[in-house]
Structures are given as C-alpha cells and as structure tokens.
C-alpha cells in the first residue's frame, strides 16, 4: 500500500500541544461529561475523614490510621479481584465465602495438619484458583448467568466452610509469619525505603514514557502535569509513612508499636501488578474489549470464553489472598470468615471507587479507594458509638449512592458522548 507515502502532512488529529491550563480544562470537561472516575470516592473519603476527625478526635490518630488499613485490607483485596469480574459486566457473589473456604483450607493445613505457612498459603491460593475455574467454566462454557452461578456458590461455600470447620468450631492460626501479615509492622526505615522506591519507580515510568512519546512526536501531557503527579504521589506516600511511623503504643515501655503495617506493601504490590496487567498488556486490553463489546472482541479474534474464565480465576484467587489476610488479622478462622458483610463491602468498595456495574469501565485503584471509604465509614461510625445496625444501613446507603452515581454518569456520558 502506498497510502502512507502519498500524503505527508503530519499525523492525523494533531491538536495544539496541551498546556497545563487546557489539561485541567480537558479533565474538567470529561468530569462534566460524566467521566467522573474515582472523583466521588476521593471527595467522599475527604469529607468522611474531616467529619469523623471533628466529631471524634481519636479518629485522626496514628493508631486509628493503622487500624484502618488492617481493617479494610481483606475487603480491599477481594474488591481488587471483583474489579476484573465487574469489568466484564459480570458479578461474583461467592467471593466472600470463597475467601472463607480458602481461609479454612489455610487454617486446616497450617494448624491441623501442621505444614509450614507457605504450603498453607499455596493451598489456599490454589483452592481459590480452582473455585474460580469452576465458576468461570459454568458461566462461559455452560452459559449460566454469573449471578445464578455465584449465588449458588455463595450458598454452597458457606456450607463448605462449616464442614471444614467441623460444624462450627474455630481453628486458631498461630504461625508467626501468617499472624505477622495483618498484625506486625515494617521497621520505620524499611517503610521509608519502600516509599522512596515506589516514588522513584513511578517517576522513572512516567518520565520514560514522556520522553519516549515526545521523541516520536506524539502528544504528551505537559511536563508540569507529569511532575505534579510524581510530586503528589511522593507527598501522599511521605505523609502516610510519616504518620504510620509515629509511636502509637499506649505504653512505650511495655511495647513499641510503630511502622507501616505489613499488609500495606502487600496491597501496594498487588495494586501495581494488576494495574500493569490491565493497562499495559494485551490481556488487560482484551478484558476491557470484552466488557465493552463482546461481539467486537470475538470478531477481532479474542477468545471471549477464555477471558471470561480467567477473570473468575483472578477474582477467586484474590479472594483467597483476602481470606489469608482475614485469618491473619483474626488469628483464627471461624465459620463466618468471609461471611456477613464481607462480600457486600467488597462489591461496594469497587463500585464506590468508580468501577461500573455495567462493565467495560474500572481500575484496580478503584477497589483501593473504595475500600478506604468503606473502612472509614465502618471505623468512624464504630468510634462514634453507633450500633452495627446503623453501620449496615449507612454502608448500604453509600453503596446505593455509588451505584446511582454510576448509572447517572453513564447516562450523562451517553448523552454527551464522553466516556
């Protein structure tokens, strides 16, 4: 084809090089057009944090902040897996109890059978992968709606946990490594080192991309915006590490309690890995494509069934990791691990963070932001002395509000053509 030789008038669609001003303008236009992303979650987080801090000064202490992370960790991890399922417009109602089953396997292997912790962790994750494969096959190959398949899973897994727990006894988890996940902290120096590493890595990726793109004459974000992003991350991470490194023990002479909880870097690493998979690999691109238009994906040669099965595998695998963290935090596994509100909190976290229930839109970061909102509500209202009844109602209302925002912004996006 000689087409590209004939005309040489620069790449099509060259807009004037964006300045900081019109970068902000563009962003604002997208928000008004309905592409709000994680904005509601961030605003909600700020409002809630300020509100609770005023109402209960104890909310804004280093000790409580560390609590927030460990309280929200399991739900956040499950929500990160759910994002993949939601991206296809499917749902996994069994994720909560799947995490319970995996936690029960973990406890049985490590405590009852006495194997080392890594065998138990492996067994739990493999269990999650097997559960996900079965669910995925039923949805993709047999063609049962995911709602029904996972509702059946929800009931059945509840029974499996009970059976594994010998009809209701709990099993303690006393392995030091496993208990450390949600109950110990990094040393302050290591916390700083990891934060510095994260900022440096992020800066390297951003600057390399900027240089690569401008070298090829492609449109780039202004360097000031890139710098602001890196600076923003540095400030947020710096503040978080500083606060978490403060002494939060009531009696320093008895025990010193400071540092970033170990579960935080675990979440951060998984966040980076899954974000990379979704945004930078063709597998991730295909997940978005199947979620947006499965028929188009099929015609483009993408194996839709394989993608569909794989997201359930990821979801249940992440549920297993969530279950491990939950078991670590409670030092034990009981028949209700992964039960009651865990699943709804996880779905709520993903949706509050900005992942669409209609498929095709969402990020792993959404789960983390939404998980933070859910954790703050739960924690803050607990400090205010509200009963769990009130907490459930409020969380339900927040979830409904997030789903409403999702539906309305979708409608607005359809009307304005921005998405």
């Amino acid at each position: 084809m000689t087409a590209t030789v004939v005309k040489k008038e620069g790449p099509a669609g060259v807009a004037p090089a964006p300045t900081v001003g019109n970068h902000v303008n563009n962003y604002w236009r997208r928000v008004r057009g309905g592409d709000i992303g994680a904005l509601p979650a961030v605003i909600m987080l700020l409002v809630l944090a300020v509100g609770f801090s005023i109402a209960r000064p104890s909310f804004f202490t280093a000790g409580n902040l560390a609590n927030l992370f460990t309280q929200g960790a399991a739900v956040t991890l499950i929500a990160m897996g759910l994002v993949f399922v939601l991206l296809l417009g499917e749902i996994d109602l069994s994720a909560g109890f799947a995490s319970g089953v995996c936690a029960a396997i973990l406890a049985n292997v490590v405590t009852v059978l006495g194997y080392p912790w890594y065998v138990a962790v492996l067994a739990a994750v493999v269990t999650g992968v097997v559960i996900g494969t079965v669910l995925g096959l039923l949805v993709a190959k047999v063609g049962i709606p995911s709602f029904v398949v996972t509702l059946a899973g929800f009931l059945a897994f509840q029974g499996v946990v009970l059976t594994l727990m010998d009809e209701g006894a709990n099993i303690a988890v006393r392995d030091d490594t496993l208990v450390a996940i949600a109950n110990r902290n990094l040393s302050p120096a290591l916390g700083w080192a990891l934060a510095a590493l994260a900022v440096a890595g992020y800066a390297a990726v951003q600057l390399l991309r900027h240089r690569n793109r401008s070298a090829r004459g492609l449109l780039t974000d202004p360097i000031a915006v890139v710098a602001a992003r890196i600076g923003g991350l540095a400030v947020i991470l710096g503040l978080a590490v500083y606060v978490l490194n403060l002494e939060r023990s009531r009696n320093v002479l008895v025990v010193s309690l400071k540092g970033v909880p170990i579960v935080v870097p675990i979440i951060a690493v998984l966040l980076v890995v899954w974000t990379f998979v979704l945004q930078r690999t063709s597998y991730g691109r295909h997940i978005y494509a199947v979620g947006g238009n499965a028929e188009a994906a099929r015609r483009a040669g993408i194996s839709v069934d394989r993608i569909r099965i794989s997201v359930f595998v990821i979801c249940s695998g992440m549920a297993a990791i969530g279950g491990i963290v939950a078991a670590s935090r409670a030092n034990s596994v009981d028949p209700n691990t992964g039960g009651s509100n865990v699943l709804l909190y996880a779905v709520g976290a993903a949706v509050i963070g900005g992942t669409s229930l209609f498929g095709g839109k969402g990020r792993v970061l959404d789960a983390v932001l939404g998980g933070a909102v859910v954790a703050v509500i739960d924690n803050g209202m607990g400090l205010m002395g509200y009963s769990s009844g009130v907490k459930f109602v409020v969380t339900g209302v927040v979830l409904l509000a997030a789903a409403t925002i999702d539906a309305l912004s979708r409608r607005r996006a359809a009307a304005t053509g921005v998405r």
Partner: protein, 272 residues
C-alpha cells in the same frame, strides 16, 4: 486498472440445507476500482461476502486471488491474503479509544508490554494516508465519535494491515447526508490508493457516486457485472428487482440460460 482482477470467483454454489442461496456465481474485483455489489434483500449479498471472508465454506466453485487459485477456509485465511471486511454493525468497542480499537486483537507489543507509541504512530499514519482530518484526538473514546467518524475508524482499521481487498457492508446505511459524503469520499480514496474495494449498498445514489463496476445479484445468481458508465440507474433497479433489463441479466425463460436447469416451481423465486 490492471488486466488481472485481484479477486475472481467462478461458479460459486452455496446451499443451506435445501435452500440454494448462491448458484454458479461469478464475481471479480479489480485493484484500484470500487465494485458495487447490489441486490435485493435475500439476493445473497451477505452470503457471498461471508464466503469470500471465509466465514462460510462454499459448496463448489473456485477462488482466484491475484491470478492464483486459493482456498479460503477461515477468516484467518482471508486476513492472511489481505481481505478485510467492515461489517455493518462496525464491531468497535465504545469504551476503548481509536488506537485501541484499530489494533484490537492484533496489538503491537515489545515483550509483554503494549507498545502504545508505535501503535499510535501507525494509526496516525494510516489516518493521514486516508486524509482523515475529522477526528480530534486519536486517544478519544469511540463512544464520543459521530456515526461517520466511527465508520472512518472501522475502515481505517481494515486498511491498517496492508490489506488488498476491503469489503464494506452498507457503510452509509445509518449516516446523514454530510457523513455519507464523507464516507464515500473515503471509499473512493481507498480505491485511488490501489486497493480493490467491494461496496455493498442499497442506495443507488451511493453506488453511482463512487463505483467503477456494478455487480447485481438476483435470487442467488449473478445477473450482470458491468461498468458503471455502461448502465443507467433504472437498468440497475430492473436488474435488482426482475433479474433482467433489456439485453442484460437472465434470459427470458427460467432455465434457458443454461445455468440453472431447474423447473419453474423450484427456482428460488418460487420458494419465497
């Protein structure tokens, strides 16, 4: 206009069970030309296209591509030859941007990482080669594009892979006047760039505006394939609706043209 057609079909038969949809169809597409494929609903246009693109196997007949006999058994075979089809319902993902859509399923990678700059550059060059200036940014989501722009993206996606034959299924069916003109201009430009273009259309104005040849299907038979300059508007309509017009098309009596020696009551016309 080269002497050997890029694609030549001879004696294509295709049945679905007892229903014969294509009988003894001959069809050619030349590089640098727009060949309009016309016919009423149910005449077999879509079936013919699906045979060419490898979605349906044919029962009989031969394919010549660039003068060489080939067999097309799957869409992959067709794509390997350089045949791309732009379907009526476009098959674009609304939630992805233009570049992502153009490379969907065939992403450029370096290692396991997507090579976005290369893809963006290639997409920009392809669109520039087609003189497309209507899209503002290559990174805007397809949901924000107009119908004409979407069609443009779908066509550019087909052209991106150094394709030689592009088949467009009713590209202007859902478009307004200005956008139709825009797309037709693009279709013309594809042919001017040396591609063989097959345009399926119901709209006679479109057909006469851009095509070099017209191929008319009537109840599964190719009744005429003539130069656009040698035929009038009303003759084409007659070919589509009655299968013949003056000296063109089927001979007077069914069965006497030597192709389908079928009794009158089993012709497709009677089946319907």
């Amino acid at each position: 206009m080269s002497a050997t057609p890029l694609l030549e079909l001879r004696g294509i038969d295709k049945s679905f069970g007892p229903v014969q949809v294509l009988r003894d169809v001959a069809f050619t597409a030349h590089p640098g030309e727009v060949t309009a494929l016309v016919g009423d609903n149910g005449a077999g246009k879509s079936t013919l296209v699906k045979c060419i693109s490898g979605i349906y196997p044919t029962d009989a007949g031969e394919f010549l591509f660039d003068g060489r006999p080939v067999s097309i058994n799957s869409p992959r075979d067709a794509a390997a030859l350089g045949i791309e089809v732009v379907y009526q319902d476009l098959a674009l993902c609304d939630n992805l941007d233009i570049v992502q859509n153009m490379f969907l399923g065939r992403e450029k990678r370096s290692g396991i990482v997507l090579d976005e700059p290369t893809m963006e550059q290639m997409a920009a060059e392809t669109l520039a080669g087609l003189s497309v200036r209507t899209v503002k940014s290559l990174r805007q989501h397809v949901s924000s594009l107009s119908g004409g722009q979407r069609q443009t993206v779908a066509i550019a996606k087909a052209v991106l892979w150094n394709s030689k034959l592009v088949i467009l299924d009713e590209p202007t069916a859902a478009l307004g006047v200005a956008q139709t003109a825009q797309v037709l201009e693009l279709v013309r430009r594809l042919a001017d760039n040396g591609l063989a273009v097959v345009l399926i259309s119901h709209n006679m104005n479109d057909v006469f505006a851009v095509s070099d040849r017209i191929a008319a299907l009537y109840l599964g038979q190719m009744v005429a394939q003539v130069k656009t300059t040698d035929i009038t508007h009303s003759q084409v309509v007659e070919l589509i609706t009655a299968g013949r017009s003056g000296g063109l098309g089927l001979a007077g009596e069914p069965g006497s043209n030597g192709t389908g020696a079928a009794p009158a009551d089993t012709t497709p016309g009677a089946v319907r």
